[in-house]
Amino acid sequence: MNIIVCLKQVPDTETQIKIGSDRQSIVTDDIKWVMNPYDEYGVEEALRLKEKHGGEVTVVGLGPKRVTESIRTALAMGADKGILISDGALDGSDSLAHAKAIAAAIKDLQYDLIFTGQRGVDDDLGIVGATLAEALNIPQLSLIVKVEVAEDGKSVKVQRPIEGETLVITSTLPALITAQKGLNEPRYASLPGIMKAKKKPLAEKSLADLGLNSADFGAGARKMKILELTPPPAREAGKIVPGETPQEKAAQLAKLLHDEAKVL
């Protein structure tokens, strides 16, 4: 069973995000980059399926050279090989263009399953999985928390939580799964794994290598335009409800909720 995992590099969720002077992008100087956490679930699930059914796990990343580090992390976790799609012409591209480039990189590979994260925690768009499935003309199973591949390796049964219920879906393979939190607990890259990762194959592809035209990529070709980034409003200071006794405090709180917050 051959599995492809798509991987995005995103700012560490602990990073303090600052908006750039163009008000359309973020300042990237002090950012620590990590593998998108939802993609990590994808890597872990792919490794577990490989351990059970055999086969190979290929990790596909897109972006500048630094994305190599995240691909190496996946290789250190146990993936077999990596592909980095890297091209200056990709700068400023939107998610639709990213999906197109990824589709071109994997269309000729042998695969039974593709994992993407259900969304990137940076832009929070959740577009690549769906667009990629569309481009490859395979079924998309989104927001999945459980994956079972049939013994014969021909179909997959998955679960998606919806409003407290669980939707069980079966699909033929190949298919694309977008990984949701709860799918698994990703393993750490072990130290022996880290040392082995360096020796695993990692190919770098430009748009030309993939037979793509640079004119279809970059800021000029965006279908989605960012108008402005604004920080969330600063949180106002809390209020401590005065009162000597719990009864007094509760009465005061009820009054405030009614008169000031107007929620009662």
């Binding site: 580090e69 022996p192 880290i194 040392m195 990762a197 360096k198």
Partner: protein, 378 residues
């Protein structure tokens, strides 16, 4: 400048491990003691317990920069007792087995220690002998194919949970330094007694034991290295022990400072944030400067170790500086937190308690000064 891609990857992994598997638990462990078997097994699975040890025994066979990265990241643990427990296992109780132990000892004890299946402790200090190691009284007397051990050890870290203790004992009464043996003592042998779990000022999540040996019979093959040479071997093992305290010290001191900068940037007094007071800012800068010095002495030691030089002098200086600096920073930062720093709910109060140990344990400051003076030739 110093680190390659693999070093960074190790750093990321250990950081993640500390953030997810250790720091969320330390408050509970401070109350109940860190569960070492559970923690070490997880670390063993990740290859963290034998970074520089031979691959033949499950080690990683990597250089001292990897070791340094590992020790630095442990410095971010929010309770000193955890890195101490780990370092006892990786840098205090096992280096002698790796360097001087027989094939049998490596197979039987080093391998499971590296895998995280066994927990180790180092037993040197006694009720009547600490700084003066050669004054220790515990006896190991040869009897046929065994040694019979009688005596006691005090302040033994991991002593309540250990599967074996690397134990220094006197093998005869001749004066001098050639009448000692360093033994691996399995804790399940008859005659091995944990007499007390000790209650401490700081490092509260670490277990510290008083041990008692009552006609404890260990096979002669559990002797590390040559008969009579235990003291000399332990002096060499002390170099690993003292070195391993350095990286965590400058990292955790810096964390303490960052936490303090954060606090005093927000804390208002006399109409302005505390950090606007030059006297406080200068104090912080003095410490940051000393921290940088300790870090680079440590990096220099790593380079010496890589080149095979004897770094006893530099390690002793590092240990001395680290002991003084860690307490000075924690104490000074606590002052800047004011009353809030005195509250147990503030992490700085734990830092303050934990940081008091380094000037005493593993060779007190005065002992380090004696070593340095001797090496300086006076």
């Amino acid at each position: 400048m110093y680190f390659n891609e693999e070093h960074h990857a190790l750093r990321d992994m250990v950081k993640k491990f500390v953030d997810k598997e250790i720091n969320p638990n330390v408050d509970e462990w401070e109350e109940k003691t860190v569960p070492l078997h559970e923690l070490f097994k997880k670390m063993g699975n990740l290859g963290l317990l034998g970074i520089t040890y031979d691959q033949k025994y499950g080690g990683q066979g990597l250089d001292y920069w990897f070791d340094l990265v590992f020790l630095e990241e442990l410095g971010h643990i929010n309770a000193g007792g955890v890195p101490m427990a780990i370092a006892v296992h990786t840098h205090m109780a096992t280096p002698a087995i790796h360097e001087y132990g027989s094939e049998y000892l490596k197979e039987t004890y080093l391998k499971p220690a590296i895998a995280g299946d066994m927990v180790s402790a180092i037993g040197v200090t006694e009720p009547a002998a600490g700084s003066d190691v050669a004054g220790l009284k515990t006896k190991a007397i040869r009897d046929g194919n065994s040694y019979v051990i009688n005596g006691s050890k005090l302040f033994i870290t991991n002593g309540c949970q250990a599967d074996f203790v690397t134990l220094l004992a006197r093998t005869d009464d001749r004066p001098g330094f050639h009448s000692f043996g360093l033994f691996i003592v399995p804790t399940d042998l008859p005659g091995f007694v944990v007499s007390r779990k000790l209650d401490k000022l700081g490092m509260r999540c670490s277990d510290t034991a008083e041990l008692f040996f009552d006609d404890l019979r260990v096979p002669a093959e559990n002797l590390i290295g040559e008969a009579g040479e235990g003291f000399i071997i332990q002096m060499k093992q002390f170099q690993y022990e003292r070195f391993c305290t350095l990286p965590g010290t400058y990292i955790s001191a810096r964390d303490t400072i960052n936490m303090t900068i954060n606090y005093i940037s927000q804390r208002m007094a006399f109409g302005k944030p505390l950090i606007k007071n030059q006297v406080l800012r200068h104090r912080l800068v003095d410490w940051i400067t000393e921290i940088e010095c300790l870090k680079h002495l440590t990096y220099h030691i790593v380079r010496m170790k890589m080149e095979g030089f004897d770094a006893t002098r530099e390690i002793s200086m590092g240990k001395l500086l680290a002991g003084e600096l860690s307490f000075k920073v924690a104490n000074g930062c606590l002052q800047m937190f004011g009353g809030m720093g005195y509250m147990n709910e503030s992490l700085i109060s734990r830092n303050f308690r934990d940081s008091r140990l380094l000037s005493i344990g593993g060779g007190a400051d005065e002992v380090m000064k004696e070593v340095i003076a001797r090496l300086e030739g006076f």
